[in-house]
């Protein structure tokens, strides 16, 4: 006797209850607080903010907790929340030249105005597991510099003074596009492409960037500058007639400088790849800059020969919320399509067998 499976609703309810139980785990262990997550897993928060495309540490912490530490799930939670937020307007372009710098390095100049600043980096740490961290050993306060630092000009501006590097792309007279409000269309402009990259999956962009270094569209890059720090966000107030600072965000900016021999479209000069992400995420910003430069092939008259240069390929596949949704949708029922394919395979096997029995030639040529 067959009774169609019912009770999907109950199954879902129970599954979610179990999920909540597993998320909490052993009740005798204190629950994580959001503050603990924001303070002690700060780089996880930064990744969720940058790929979730929403600058809010508390919501990111909530998402990380709710997602049980699954970063892509946390990013998804933040994105789904972000879409529902009303749009008040667009900020003025942030001035990264006026950044309150915490870290700033250049691989192209030994010394430069504003200096090199290592900041809170994993670089040069020896990757030895530190048993002290298993406990709660006291951590000494950080050294602080005295007074306000000098304004550190961007390395790209130094090169621009000599005309050796292409300018910042022509100051756009129109508003930049907005990939969250307008449908994406290929070929893309650089503004919307950068937006997509900025929220793109770190792992995917990292792998593509790496491929350019290994010869799949080699771009001769130098890390012109990487800077991390806070910038002011200003919004133009039509009522007041000027822009008002509404807060600060932490950003990581990377300017890659690429040697370029010139083409029919552009003279020999240094060209640039640009990376900008929320929070502290140097790896992502650098990967983004390499990918940006690779995808400028069309604009610069280079041959498109490698995956990283293929804008439609990269942009269509860099969003981890889209990618994980579609990959994981395969676990949804596909009975109906499968049934159709099952019937087809049965028919074809029957035909195959009758041909064989009839002694007809086996390579299934059509009649």
């Amino acid at each position: 006797m067959y009774v169609a499976v019912k009770g999907g609703e109950k199954a879902i309810r129970n599954a979610h209850r179990l999920l909540a139980d597993r998320r909490r785990g052993d009740r005798s262990v204190p629950a994580l607080t959001l503050t603990q997550i924001t303070c002690q897993l700060a780089l996880a928060i930064d990744r969720v903010m940058s790929e979730g495309a929403l600058y809010d540490r508390d919501l990111a912490a909530l998402a990380v907790k709710q997602a049980r530490g699954d970063m892509i799930e946390a990013i998804f939670l933040v994105r789904a929340y972000r879409t529902t937020l009303p749009r008040f307007g667009y900020s003025e372009p942030v001035d990264t030249g006026a950044m309150h710098i915490e870290r700033r390095i250049s691989a192209t100049y030994k010394d430069l105005p504003g200096g090199q600043m290592l900041g809170p980096t994993f670089d040069y740490t020896h990757r030895l597991l530190d048993p002290e961290l298993a406990g709660d050993a006291a951590v000494p306060d950080a050294e602080r510099r005295d007074g306000e630092p000098a304004r550190a000009m961007r390395v790209s501006d130094i090169l621009a003074q000599d005309g050796l590097i292409e300018g910042d792309c022509d100051a756009q007279t129109e508003m930049p596009g907005d990939i969250t409000r307008e449908p994406m269309e290929f070929p893309m402009e650089r503004d919307t492409r950068l937006q997509s990259l900025s929220r793109g999956d770190e792992g995917f962009l990292l792998a593509l960037a790496y491929s350019t270094q290994r010869g799949y569209a080699r771009s001769h890059p130098f890390a012109g500058e990487i800077r991390i720090g806070e910038v002011e966000v200003a919004v133009d107030m039509p009522e007041l007639g000027f822009a008002v600072t509404i807060g600060r965000v932490q950003l990581t900016e990377c300017q890659m400088i690429n040697q370029f021999k010139g083409s029919s479209k552009a003279p020999p000069q240094f060209t640039r790849g640009y990376g900008l992400v929320f929070g502290q995420s140097e790896r992502k910003a650098m990967a983004m800059a390499l990918c940006d430069r690779a995808m400028r092939a069309r604009e610069l008259g280079e041959d498109i020969v490698a995956p990283a240069q293929d804008e439609e390929f990269v942009i269509s596949h860099c969003d981890n919320v889209q990618a994980s949704g579609f990959v994981e949708h395969l676990k949804l029922p596909h009975y109906v399509d499968f049934q159709a394919e099952l019937e087809l395979v049965r028919t074809m096997r029957a035909e195959h067998e009758s041909r064989r029995d009839a002694g007809e030639p086996m390579p299934e040529a059509a009649e």
């Binding site: 083409s263 479209k265 390579p363």
Partner: protein, 295 residues
């Protein structure tokens, strides 16, 4: 992209020997092409065509007429602008300046670069053919030979599988590919077979004009000879007009009625093939002919 390493390769002996194969008399295949002849109008007429790649010259100020049923060979050393010119007159590459006019089947003369893309694509898959040096550029490598030949028919509305297949089979026969290979993919074909398949795919709609860029380029000498023979037969039977780019003067002699000699992007000599090869006028052509044919 344009440098396929197809430098001028002096064949010790021009294919099939010089004396044996006389050129077909000009427009011999125009038994049914007489009306076109009577109209005395070229099929395609390019004038003042130039293409610059940045400051580099691809081709400059080229004017050329292609008449119905005639085979025109464009020759010249590597980098002289042959491919550029071919692409410019076949709408594959937008010229920097100049116009290209084409006489449509209804007799109307149209400026190719003023046509809409839909009309241009339609023209390209009905009245024209384009044979690439590398067959992979002109074939769908992952669909069967039959579908490769049938595609143009289907694109222009053929909806009877049996008829499409029969026509494809017939064309495979005409290019000397055994019928039982009809369901094989070009991947399973030799270089010469691929090239013949590409030709069949182009000719199936009965085009009036076919462009070819080094159609025998990647093939070895004996395979080349067979392909050229086949091409010559088809061109004659069908009364095709052909523009064939080649750096090989033997190919030009065997196939073409008329020759266009290019150097540094410019046309430096044109004339009947026999005349140009036997009595070259421009010093460069003299050099070209002597260095290759007497080598």
């Amino acid at each position: 992209m344009m440098t396929q390493g197809d430098s001028v390769s002096p064949h010790p002996e021009p294919i099939e020997g010089r004396g044996e194969t006389a050129n077909p008399p000009l427009r011999q295949a125009q038994g049914d092409g007489l009306p076109a002849l009577a109209e005395e109008k070229p099929l395609l007429s390019a004038s003042g065509v130039s293409k610059f790649y940045g400051s580099r010259i691809g081709c400059e100020d080229v004017s050329i007429d292609i008449w119905p049923g005639e085979v025109v060979a464009v020759v010249g050393e590597s980098g002289s602008g042959k491919t550029t010119l071919l692409n410019c007159i076949s709408t594959r590459l937008m010229p920097t300046t100049g116009t290209v006019a084409y006489r449509m089947r209804d007799g109307q003369i149209r400026d190719l670069y003023r046509m809409g893309e839909a009309e241009r694509r339609f023209l390209m898959r009905t009245d024209w053919g384009f044979v690439h040096q590398n067959p992979a550029d002109g074939l769908r490598m992952t669909v069967s030979a039959g579908a490769n030949v049938g595609e143009r028919l289907m694109a222009t509305g053929a909806r009877h599988y049996g008829n499409i297949r029969a026509t494809a089979g017939d064309w495979l026969g005409r290019v000397e590919i055994a019928e039982d290979r009809i369901d094989d993919q070009p991947r399973a074909f030799s270089g010469g077979m691929r090239q013949r398949l590409q030709i069949a795919r182009n000719l199936v709609t009965g085009p009036r004009l076919v462009f070819m860029d080094e159609p025998t380029g990647g093939l070895d000498v004996s395979v080349q000879a067979r392909l050229l023979d086949l091409l010559r037969g088809l061109v004659t039977d069908l009364g095709l007009a052909v523009v064939v780019v080649t750096h090989d003067l033997a190919v030009a002699r065997l196939l073409s009625h008329r020759m266009v000699v290019m150097k540094d992007g410019r046309v430096i000599e044109t004339g009947l093939t026999d005349r140009v090869l036997d009595d070259p006028r421009a010093p460069y052509t003299q050099l070209l002919v002597s260095s290759i044919l007497q080598a």
